[in-house]
């Protein structure tokens, strides 16, 4: 296996692309009790249209299929459910679906090989029937309602709706009760056969492993298959401009919550460097030691440090700042004003170095926990990144680059505001 060392934090990872196209990444962690396995396919909620490998036809699927498939994968032909089989071994098993991938995972302290058997068995053996698909619609319907009640999720969807006109990222990951009603076993098998091919997947293991022998164990459990070309995905055209400036929803929240978004161009080269740079800017702008945060906190406009994020895939890229405020519009105004201020002022060297240290610390802390490491390697791999790059490219960021990013990314015309507030009392 190819070895990659990250000196600063004293970690290593081992990588191998198998003949069938499956990417395996192993991150050994000596002396830990926990082992973490995560197997993901590059198939998420935005992958709604693609060219079918079998027929060569263009296929459009209902919203929410990736997530529905995730739910149904656990069900086995003999009537058992793999989730329960794993739990019965004291293994913490789960799965999740994001915009760009679906992941199956487990974390355990004992019974590792039994867990590996079960995981690799159920992910490679789907079993969908009319009956079990119908039943799942009830359960997922409940889950969709739960999201409907979740102010944080509604806030995010509102922000996506402002940023994008056509991009499916604006649609709920689980779909809608209406869209999932159209899902059939046939659609599920079609998507499975296209997207759950090893060449479209990544397998990450974190824990006290000897990499080569674990690799053999993984190979042993894989079904035979030939490598394939990349799947052709079709996405609706999206302009560089935003869809709309503002979205306000009324829900039962005591204090309004807000999300400021800034739409960015689709990622080109050196996205890691850009990501680090944007995180530095966001910390300087509204991080916990920033002047703006202190001001807004003492004016009662913020209750805590806002969450800051830069989200991207091959199909979208945006900056997000979210928090709780009695007056979201005022916060938005202040943030935009401060951005302009930063553009015209000199970068404070001391502040810049301090924030760099902080962000280095944030990245290093990610390596405390097997599940954080596993999820990070998967999410980054799907985006074409090796997670170590964040620690390695760190030194390349200087003040000029920050200035450049400020001027190119933080464009007021691309900024939006999503708000969820309590209902107007009569």
């Amino acid at each position: 296996m190819e070895e990659r060392i990250c000196k600063k934090i004293k970690e290593k990872c081992y990588m191998e692309k198998l003949d069938n196209g499956l990417q395996v990444i192993i991150v050994p962690k000596r002396n830990l009790q926990k082992k973490y396995i995560i197997w993901a396919t590059h198939f998420g909620s935005i992958d709604n249209e693609f060219i079918d490998k079998e027929s060569g036809n263009k296929i459009k699927i209902p919203d929410g299929v990736a997530h529905f498939l995730e739910h149904k994968m656990f069900e086995q032909k003999d009537g058992t459910d793999s989730l329960y089989t794993l739990m019965a071994l004291g293994i913490d098993a789960n799965a999740y679906t994001t915009n760009d991938h679906t992941a199956y995972l487990f974390e355990c302290t004992d019974h590792f090989y039994e867990g590996l058997d079960e995981l690799m068995d159920y992910v490679q053996n789907p079993y969908f029937t009319d009956e079990n698909v119908e039943k799942e619609k009830g359960i997922i319907g409940q889950e969709i309602q739960m999201y409907d009640d979740d102010p944080g999720w509604q806030l995010y969807i509102g922000a996506m709706d402002c940023l994008y006109k056509n991009n499916p990222i604006k649609i709920d990951i689980a779909g809608t009760i209406e869209s999932i009603s159209k899902i059939t076993p046939k659609i599920l098998y079609k998507c499975y056969n296209n997207f759950y091919h090893p060449s479209n997947m990544v397998f990450v293991a974190v824990g006290d492993f000897e990499p080569n022998s674990l690799l053999e164990e993984i190979k042993k459990r894989l079904k035979k298959s030939e490598n394939r070309d990349e799947i052709k995905r079709i996405y609706p055209e999206e302009k560089e401009e935003i869809n709309k400036k503002l979205e306000e929803k009324e829900m039962e929240v005591s204090t309004p919550i807000f999300m400021i978004g800034i739409k960015d161009k689709l990622p080109e080269n050196d996205i890691v460097k850009k990501h680090i740079g944007i995180e530095i800017i966001l910390n300087m702008l509204i991080g916990k030691s920033s002047k703006l945060y202190s001001k807004l906190y003492s004016e009662g406009l913020l209750m805590g440090v806002p969450d800051i994020d830069y989200e991207f895939s091959s199909q979208y890229a945006h900056v997000l700042i979210s928090g709780q405020s009695v007056d979201p519009k005022k916060v938005n105004e202040e943030v935009l004003k401060e951005i302009e201020q930063m553009k015209s002022a000199q970068i404070d060297k001391q502040e810049f170095e301090r924030i760099k240290k902080k962000i280095y610390g944030d990245y290093a802390v990610e390596y405390n926990n097997v599940s954080d490491i596993g999820r990070m390697f998967v999410a980054d791999y799907i985006k074409g990144i090796n997670s170590f790059e964040y620690i390695e490219k760190f030194d390349q960021i200087d003040e000029n680059y920050i200035k450049e990013l400020l001027n190119t990314v933080f464009d007021e015309n691309k900024a939006i505001l999503s708000i969820v507030k309590g209902e107007a009392k009569n």
Binding site: G90, I139, R354
Partner: protein, 418 residues
């Protein structure tokens, strides 16, 4: 892994957990006092005031700059109920020196900042800074009002409140809005001084460090040496809530209903009750999950939690409003089945595996390990993780049936739409 406990003074302890599994060292200070209606809101305010500034670092901005310089050390604080005790928790997590790119004594600097925050708050003319108190009063008000934002947690808190009407454990950990008007910077500071003089103080340090140097640093710290010894009386009223099937319904605008059921547990065999709880609602194999969610498709979530120090179990479900009767009936059936021993050896085995795995993985998580040892400290127990695992393995079916027969429904709380 090893735990070493040192009495710094009567009522003040240092607990060291040596481990090299992590990139970080985690330090925490816990201030434990009795839960009481009189000062609950004040204590919540003290928690939020302390993080605002110290006599050395006079604002959050100053504190945060210092933390960022220490490679983004992170400060956190929180408030908890543990039995009938109220705990103020303060944490700093910082990188171990082995992983930084310049040489710096991060652990000692982190300790000093944490002690500064807890024991040396910004004081002006014998009271807290007026401005901070006013801002934090407003902040705590928003937190209390925000209780309803997390529907599932709110339903559980309301269920517990109904089980413990007018009793310490029923109190809301952040207090009550009506108290805020009477609090000013002077009386709040007096409460703080009293708390620091009398509360139980536990300092935990988890990570890779030189213990002699650490102990010296803590014992010689001026703020620590100024603290007086104190006699500790912790409160843990036993079983003061024994009402039966008290049904409460509350409505709010919500599309999924939350049904929480509080159970009385008379059995003193905590290990047997832990296994009981895991069979009933511990995970995806539990009776609740299987019967309420899977077989009847009634709920998205269904499970139960065991509140060990209080001897109570809370069943939590998220259901469609119209399914209230049906869900309740199925839940009651599960409780009845448990009493009649209608569960298999397989169920017992699964439940034990689940609990044991959680004990084992705890050693890979700094904060969980600290919480485990702190819980043990408060309940005056001295079992370590290995012994705990053995005790769970030794639970028999008879033990579980016996525990099951000591269990009754106390309160049924349903949060439903208007």
């Amino acid at each position: 892994m090893s735990l070493k406990t040192i009495d710094i003074k009567e009522g003040i302890k240092l607990h060291e957990i040596k481990t090299n599994k992590f990139k970080t060292n985690l330090i925490s200070v816990f201030l434990t006092s009795k839960l009481s209606r009189e000062d609950i809101t004040k204590k919540a305010l003290i928690l939020t005031i302390l993080r605002r500034g110290t006599n050395n670092l006079q604002s959050q901005e100053e504190i945060n700059k210092k933390l960022e310089e220490l490679y983004g050390a992170s400060f956190d604080c929180g408030i908890d109920k543990l039995g009938d005790n109220h705990v103020l928790k303060f944490y700093i997590e910082s990188l171990n020196e082995e992983y930084i790119y310049e040489k710096e004594d991060i652990l000692n600097k982190s300790l000093n900042i944490l002690f500064d925050i807890v024991f040396n708050p910004l004081v002006e003319n014998a009271h807290f800074k007026e401005e901070y108190v006013n801002e934090e009063k407003n902040n705590v008000k928003l937190i209390i009002e925000g209780q309803k934002d997390n529907k599932s947690a709110y339903a559980t808190q309301r269920c517990i409140e109904e089980m413990y009407k007018d009793k310490p454990y029923g109190l809301y950990k952040y207090g009550y809005i009506e108290d805020l008007d009477k609090i000013d910077s002077k009386n709040l500071y007096e409460t703080y001084l009293e708390l620091i003089k009398t509360c139980k103080i536990d300092i935990f340090v988890s990570g890779n460090f030189d213990d002699t140097k650490l102990e010296k640093g803590i014992i010689e710290n001026q703020l620590i040496s100024k603290l007086e010894p104190r006699k500790i009386e912790l409160l843990n009223e036993k079983d003061e809530s024994n009402q039966k099937e008290n049904v409460v319904k509350e409505s709010m605008q919500i599309s999924q209903g939350k049904l929480d059921i509080g159970l009385n547990v008379k059995s003193k065999n905590k290990n047997a009750v832990s296994v009981y709880n895991a069979i009933l609602g511990g995970g995806a194999n539990s009776k609740l999950f299987q019967n309420v969610r899977e077989k009847a498709s009634l709920a998205y979530s269904a499970g139960s939690i065991y509140i060990k120090p209080k001897g109570k179990i809370i069943i939590k479900t998220g259901i469609e409003h119209k399914n209230y009767e049906k869900t309740l009936e199925i839940i009651k059936k599960q409780i009845e089945d448990m009493k009649n021993g209608k569960f298999t050896d397989e169920d017992i085995k699964n439940a034990k595996e689940l609990i044991i795995a959680s004990f084992k993985s705890m050693q890979d998580e700094q904060d969980s390990e600290i919480s485990f040892y702190f819980g043990r400290e408060i309940q005056r127990e001295s079992v370590d993780i290995e012994k705990q695992i053995k005790d769970i393995s030794d639970v028999t079916k008879e033990n579980i049936v016996e525990a099951a027969n000591s269990i009754e429904i106390n309160t049924i709380f349903f949060l439903t739409k208007e």
